[in-house]
Structure formats: C-alpha cells, structure tokens
C-alpha cells in the first residue's frame, strides 16, 4: 500500500514538472512559430523547383496577410502582402543553392491578448548561384498578431547593430 502511494506521489510530481516544462504558453507558441519559420526558409541541395513552390504556400502558416518590413541598413521600409512573400520566397530559393537561417536568443513580450513582440538573433547562411555566398548575423525584431489560426508574424525589423 505504501509503495503504491509513493509511486502515485512520484508520478504526480513528474507529471507536474513535465506540465510546467512543456505547457504551451503563448511565449512558447511564439518561439515555436519563429523556429518553424526559420526551418521553412531552409533550402538544401535536394530541394527542387516543385518542392520550393509547394513550400512557398506554407507562408500563410507563419505570416499575416500584410507584413511591415524594415531593413535599417538598406533603408528599406514598406508593407508587403502574403503574395509578395510567396513570390519572394520562390525567387530567393531559386537564386541560391543552399539557404539556412538559425534563430536564437528569442525574447518574447506579450503586449496584450492579440499582440506580441519578439527579439532574436538570426544567422543567415547562403550557398551561391546568382547570389554570392554570404553569412550574416542580425538582430531582428518581430511583431506578432494572434488570429483564429494562432500567432502570425506581421512585422519584421532587421536592426542595424553596427552603424556604418
């Protein structure tokens, strides 16, 4: 009887720890979304034009209908649509042999039930074709909005950490 009680207590404690560690809070959902987005823009040598075209349609799982894009170093500041993102994805993936984005140091701030901001370090590595091979390290600020389908990115600001 004592053994059964002990087992029950241990089981309950382990369950609580697992629940605490893996419960999908809003912050965890956003971190997962950003990591999935980084995975989405990964291209390997095995990818084909067809697989890229199919993958481009998944943009709707990550982005809202309109996204504000700002790249401080290039002085780019404009609103792009989800269709622009799909076309841009196909163009970019067609221009490189390999593409990899690694996202880390994700810090999420929930502003209210429907809006959030996230800051992260993003390393982009490309293997060339028409675009030269490069590796760049950036700090990126994301704006997020919550829809019926979940969180979606509605703002991307690539910050200029080192100001030329």
């Amino acid at each position: 009887m004592v053994n059964k009680k002990n087992i029950l207590v241990v089981f309950t404690v382990i369950s609580l720890i697992l629940l605490f560690l893996f419960y999908p809070t809003e912050k965890r959902k956003i971190k997962r979304l950003l990591k999935n987005t980084a995975e989405w823009v990964r291209k390997t040598e095995e990818d084909t034009a067809l697989s890229i075209a199919l993958k481009s349609k998944r943009s709707r799982k990550y982005f809202s209908q309109k996204v504000f894009l700002k790249i401080e170093r290039k002085e780019i500041e404009r609103e792009i649509t989800i269709e622009d993102i799909e076309k841009g994805y196909i163009f970019l993936m067609g221009s490189v042999v390999t593409f990899k984005a690694t996202i880390s140091d994700i810090k999420v701030e929930i502003l209210n039930n429907f809006l959030a901001e996230a800051n992260a370090s993003v390393i982009v590595e490309t293997g060339g074709k028409s675009i030269e091979e490069l590796s760049s390290v950036n700090e990126v600020n994301f704006g997020l909005t919550k829809t019926d389908e979940g969180w979606r990115i509605n703002k991307i600001v690539v910050k200029e950490v080192l100001e030329k």
Binding site: N119, A120, S121, V137, V140, V161, L162
Partner: protein
Amino acid sequence: MEPTLKDGSIHFICRMCLLFRSPKKGEVVGIRLSGTKVILLKRIIAKEGEKVEFKNGKLFINGSEIDEPYIKVRSDWNYEGKLIEKGMVFVVGDNRAVPIESHDFGEVSEERIVGKLIW
C-alpha cells in the same frame, strides 16, 4: 576577425574585466545582439568624440594615421569620416581583405559590449 581569430575556433570572453572600467581602444570585445548566445567579436578602434576615416586602407583618427600592427593584409578601404557619439564606440574586424561593403563594422553602443576577449 581573421587572421587574428580563426573561423570556427573557440575563445573566452571575460565579462568581469569590463565591470569597473570602459573598454579601451585596441581591445577585442564581444558585442551582443538579442542575447548572449550569438556574439560578434570586433576590435575597438575609436571612442566617443573621435572621428574615424579610412583612406586607401589606412586608418585615421582625428586626421592622424594610426598604426595597426594586427592587420596582416592591407585593404583599399575608403570610408568617409564619422564622429563617434556619446556612449558609443567604433568597432572593426581585423579581416580587411574583404570588400568594405561585405564587412560588418561601425558605431555601436557601449551597452552592447559584454566583455573583453582574453583568449
């Protein structure tokens, strides 16, 4: 930071070293981005109030040419002068063999410096 630091090599940053003093010119420091998992390693070449210029690869601070013994490959960089603002430093990597457009360098807030490279 090649050739001073090899790509993919492991290094140590002393975070305590800069707790009680400001980073000095010539020191290689770690610069944080969003957090401290990804850090840029750059050399401080100028501090607030100073004007930085590159003329045919040579560094000039406030109009005077500065000797850079850590540079192994001379560049042809040309960069118009920039006056460093308060609370900022100017950092550059040692790899001047790459074109100036592809090199990450510039003015950065001292608050982003996480420590000094010790090894």
